[in-house]
């Protein structure tokens, strides 16, 4: 019953702040309540919470999702389990959901605000596997969800890790000819693969077109700096640079962060800095890696994210991402190299398949 009531209150909170307004005092109180429920229901979190000091609930390091079940319900009640990619650690982290209503609501509100504030009919070009092909990918689920809410037609152009270049070219040429704006949504490494697959072919997509990239390269393609990537994408697809944005999300979270530049451009506002804006139901701040206390604004720390939409798992997450907070938004500096030991020691852990 508590969970049911909390879920309703969280949905109300999301609805009340759909416009991006923040009420951090109420958010803090709700997060405390949610974390309390979770600490009572999840043994692994209870052990962590017992040792935590300070005014904030304990945050669970993302690696724990690889080793322990972190859900307030039994696995028989799982509706969906999203898993982290298996490229960097042998064991994949699992994020279990009893229902997806909070996830869906969070994704929809954030996407409407930062990707589709103009509510314009768009054709979706998805450089990701479909949720049917990748049922445990939270990204595939989210993109398919957005397709049901914000586009006229959508198609996936990634199959078994390869870009369907001919189909992609044909459909983009059709969009050019029909003057239908396109939203290209995909992972950074898929976009790099598309760059390679498309060769010299370039496009002038109709006004209103936009592009969202997400995720790192994870060793699946050559790496490009964010600005170099934007320049290439701009030149490839004919989409203005300010309408090319990055999304930041994690399997362990239910909410996403976006750069606000596309929204500002569509609404005719001045270009904001390229920093990630947390959703109003998310508390995100870098912490000192030793004390785990928040670091002052402008200083580098490791990013902690408290996501109210993670009701059935763990709301307070400690990532390995290095970040600084500036004017309430986040500059991501990069992902710390996990448990890769220093010097001539190594991640033999990974090489040999991690711990049992």
């Amino acid at each position: 019953m508590t969970r049911h009531r909390l879920r309703a209150r969280i949905l109300d909170f999301m609805g009340a702040h759909e416009d991006g307004s923040r009420d951090d005092a109420s958010l803090d109180a709700l997060l405390d309540e949610v974390a309390g429920v979770q600490a009572r229901a999840i043994p692994a979190y209870a052990r962590l919470a017992r040792r935590a000091g300070g005014p904030l609930p304990a945050a669970v390091p993302t690696d724990v999702f690889r080793f322990a079940r972190l859900a307030i319900h039994s696995d028989e009640e799982d509706l969906r389990v999203f898993r982290t990619s298996g490229t960097t650690q042998h064991e994949r982290g699992a994020h279990s959901f009893r229902d997806l209503s909070l996830y869906d609501r969070a994704a929809e509100i954030q996407a409407r605000r930062f990707l589709f504030p103009d509510e314009r009919p768009l054709r979706f070009v998805l450089l990701s596997p479909s949720a049917i092909d990748a049922p445990d990918s939270s990204l595939s689920y989210m993109l398919d969800l957005l397709a049901t809410r914000f586009c006229t037609t959508s198609r996936h152009y990634l199959s078994r890790g390869s870009v369907l270049a001919e189909e992609l070219e044909k459909d983009l040429r059709d969009a050019e000819a029909e003057r239908v704006p396109v939203a290209i949504l995909g992972t950074s490494f898929a976009l790099v693969h598309a760059e390679d697959a498309l060769g010299t072919r370039s496009f002038s997509l109709p006004a209103g077109s936009r592009l969202m990239q997400t995720g790192g390269f994870k060793g699946r393609s050559r790496e490009l700096s964010p600005s170099e990537m934007r320049t290439r994408l701009c030149s490839r697809y004919g989409i203005p640079e300010e309408r090319i944005v990055s999304e930041y999300g994690m399997t362990e979270l239910s909410s996403q962060f976006y750069e606000p530049s596309l929204r500002a451009s569509l609404l005719g506002e001045p270009a904001p800095p390229r920093r990630y804006v947390p959703a109003p139901w998310v508390r995100a701040f870098p912490v000192d890696p030793e004390s785990l206390a928040p670091v002052p604004d402008g200083e580098l720390g490791i990013l902690r994210i408290d996501d109210l939409a993670n009701l059935d798992s763990i709301a307070c997450i400690q990532t390995s991402d290095l970040a600084r907070r500036v004017d309430g938004a986040l500059e991501l500096v990069g992902r710390a190299p996990g448990a890769t030991p220093r010097g001539c020691s190594l991640a033999i852990d990974e090489m040999l398949g991690g711990s049992a």
Binding site: F67, A68, E290, Q318, S320, A336, T340, G343, C344, S355
Partner: protein, 393 residues
Amino acid sequence: VSLRLVDSLEDRLERALAIAARFEALGAERRVELLLAATARLESSIEPHVDELARTSGLRNANVRWGLSTTFETVTKDALTSIVRSAEAAGPKGSLMRPRGLHALILSGNVFTAALRALYVPLCLGNPVIAKASARSDLFAHLLTRALVETDPVFRDAVAVVTFSSRESDLVALLLGRCHTVAAYGSDETIRALRLRLGAGVRFLPHGHGLGLAFVEGDGTDDEVAAFADDVTAYDQRGCLSPHALLLTGDARGFAARLQKALAAASFRRPRGSLPIDVGAAQVQWRGVAQARGELFEGLDFSIAVERATRPRLSPGYRNVSIVGVEDRDAFIALAGSFGAHLKAVGVGGMRPSELSLRLGCVPRICALGQMQRPPLEAAWEGAPAHDGLVAY
């Protein structure tokens, strides 16, 4: 800058090649004398450099002093002579041992004193050495070469430390192209990249990724617990000989509780150095998993994880270590074998080191607890004798 460095490196290489015959002709006995004298000279003049060594290595002063003293004490006449004698004895009967020639050395920055053994072994065998150090931690190597040069002018040409980025591919090519042997310390990626650039006939001595483990039969004595704390504390557990986990047949939790006290004492004597933020991030993850699925014993600058697992989670170093219970010695041997050549040191308690024999292909240095980071100068390295690759017959 690159042009000046190319000129300088070119010059150093030419001089080292030109001195090779004279350096060989000095004879092993004289070279040993000079190395001993240089070590004494450096040891007596090192104190003013401790602050800077601490700053550049990231270690605290007390740990720097420990590293220096335990490294200097390995340089003895017996040790150096034994390296030469072993090399002579390894050749075919009646053959003459000769140095292979100019030796290139690619140093890594994780253990600041590692330059000493890496320089001294080829030098005592008569090979001139050009060492490439990383910019952030080349001080000890420079101090060492300065002491050598001040001891005898022959070292002005017979040894040099150069500092440049590995991305300076023209300099790397120049260095690798002129040397007869190349020893490289660093990540497996670095080793792979260097191997691809070597010319035919160059003898490559790679020292890639590695780590240490410890094994205790029984519960371990208090002395063994304290000795293991020293192994963890040394170089802030950043070396390829550093133990990431201790496996024991006795009570893991009890050992961890005793180790917590021992590490608190060791850390008081030799506090941990600064924690890089990316290591801090990894440490948070590692400790969090231990808390969630087992037990974590923490101190001011260390932690000990006890988890029910069949194999330990390797830690990010910086004084984070796992204690894992194993059924028996065979279980440890099986686990150690799974690390293959990457396992570079095994500290042993509850038995004599000589009683532990590991599987083929797994060739760490096996030693008593407390000695993991104190390899003798003449010790075999990764299963090969110290002179391996550095002499011809």
